[in-house]
């Protein structure tokens, strides 16, 4: 038992490297904030395009469905490596502009932004499915009422359907957000010094995984309250439904 504690919970080592691990976790947080915010927006755009009405817009629907299915069908690690492996080269050959091929917004390194891109592209696809479920759960009569008042399809979506849909899908979106947050660790493979990368670097010099344990604890500090928040939201919505609202 003592051996176990000395291996995983070496407090002196944790203390020594606390600053480094925290710095890594700060990248993790930034990845989740940028990737998460963009995925939320991109997912909503995809979901709305997927509901585009009429025969003329059928190709738009097909493309969106194909995109969503493909991105959900490929491991995110692979998507990330494809972005990392291609954009830099394309940029140096002048095929794509520098802001896309070698992005350095806010002075942060390209591999950070590659990570944000991968998270956005992949989690946008997941979140699009969540939004879609929300949009489809809004009763048909809402769209009919809006259209009968003379609103266009787009106006009805924007002012009537989407605001109701988003409210209904906050809990599943938060679940996806927790998953996204954990998947930021994949960006470690393209040398992003986020918390997992830092932890394993420390391990390879000290042969003790306590820095990784510290990383796990930092994750839990954020994800556990989020999980409680999801439960609380679900409970609140159930109560609303029981009162015949929402």
């Amino acid at each position: 038992m003592e051996q176990f504690f000395n291996t995983y919970f070496d407090f002196s080592l944790m203390g020594e490297y606390f600053g480094d691990v925290l710095e890594g976790f700060w990248w993790t947080i930034r990845l989740s904030i940028f990737g998460g915010a963009l995925a939320l927006i991109w997912g909503l755009i995809l979901a709305v395009l997927r509901q585009a009405p009429g025969k003329a817009l059928a190709p738009v629907r097909w493309i969106v469905i194909a995109y969503i299915d493909c991105l959900r069908g490929i491991p995110m690690l692979l998507t990330l490596l494809l972005i990392y492996g291609g954009l830099g080269t394309l940029q140096s050959e002048g095929t794509i502009p520098k802001w896309l091929g070698l992005p350095e917004f806010l002075g942060w390194p390209p591999y950070f932004w590659y990570g944000v891109m991968a998270l956005t592209l992949v989690y946008g696809a997941y979140m699009a499915e969540v939004y879609r479920a929300g949009i489809e759960s809004v009763p048909r009569g809402q769209m009919e009422a809006a259209r009968s008042l003379g609103m266009s399809h787009n106006q009805a979506m924007r002012f009537v359907i989407v605001p109701q849909a988003v409210r209904r899908v906050i809990p599943p979106l938060l679940n996806d957000y927790i998953a996204l947050m954990k998947d930021t660790s994949l960006v470690s493979v393209i040398s992003m010094p986020e918390v997992v990368r830092i932890g394993s670097d420390i391990y390879s010099t000290t042969f003790n995984p306590s820095a990784l344990t510290l990383g796990a604890i930092l994750f839990l500090v954020v994800t556990l309250p989020l999980a409680r928040l999801v439960d609380w939201q679900i409970k609140r919505q159930d109560e609303k439904f029981q009162r015949g609202m929402a």
């Binding site: 009569g141 809402q142 008042l149 924007r158 002012f159 109701q164």
Partner: protein
Amino acid sequence: MTEPIKQPVREVSRGETILKINNLRKVYGDLEVLKDIDLEIKKGEVICVLGPSGSGKSTMLRCLNLLEVPTAGTLELKGEMIFDGKRTEKLDELRQETGMVFQSFNLFPNMTAKENVSIAQIRVRGRKKQDAHRRSIEELTKVGLEAKVDEYPDRLSGGQQQRVAIARALAMDPEVMLFDEVTSALDPELVKGVLDVMRGLADSGMTMICVTHEIGFAREVADRVIFMDGGYIVEQGPPDDVLGNPKEERTKKFLGLVLEH
């Protein structure tokens, strides 16, 4: 995103044809819901449409503002072709001239009564927010809900919700009002309040087409009663004739069943 203000549409005077459908058919898969409907609606007319469930009366009503796209037939608004059997033109114009009230109210649950009545005024008619709100309060007062303007729909009774829905349609200044079984989902004691509003509207000269099961209302308010069955208009005429002295067997049978209890 604000759409163009109401286009100038030709004014029609009382008694002139405002909506006209010809040879209207509607098919869902194998099911022919509307078989061959001709109907002319004149400005100021109050029409009540009766018939057993599945007779196609609601579908016909929904074809009048093209919420359902007919399989065949034509629809004209004030002499202008809106639907020629294949393509829809001037859909905005049609929707802005017709207000619709639904059986299930369909109020927007995320907006207060006032906002429900205002949203289309602002986004479709291009009215300023204050003007729209003022108008909404006016319309809500007319239907007896001046005390409820800031309530959300879940805080209103079914009858109150339905009156908000009527106010919401009226605030758009429609020329024709379509009512689709608007009292069917209401508790009996709430029906009267809604029918009173409709009665007042009929008295004010509004053109109205009401799909309804309220025979008493039809007898009292309608200029013309239409009886539908099996996708056809079986019989139509003044309420005294159709309800008091029906010619067709099917009408007699239906009225017998409805009036029995």
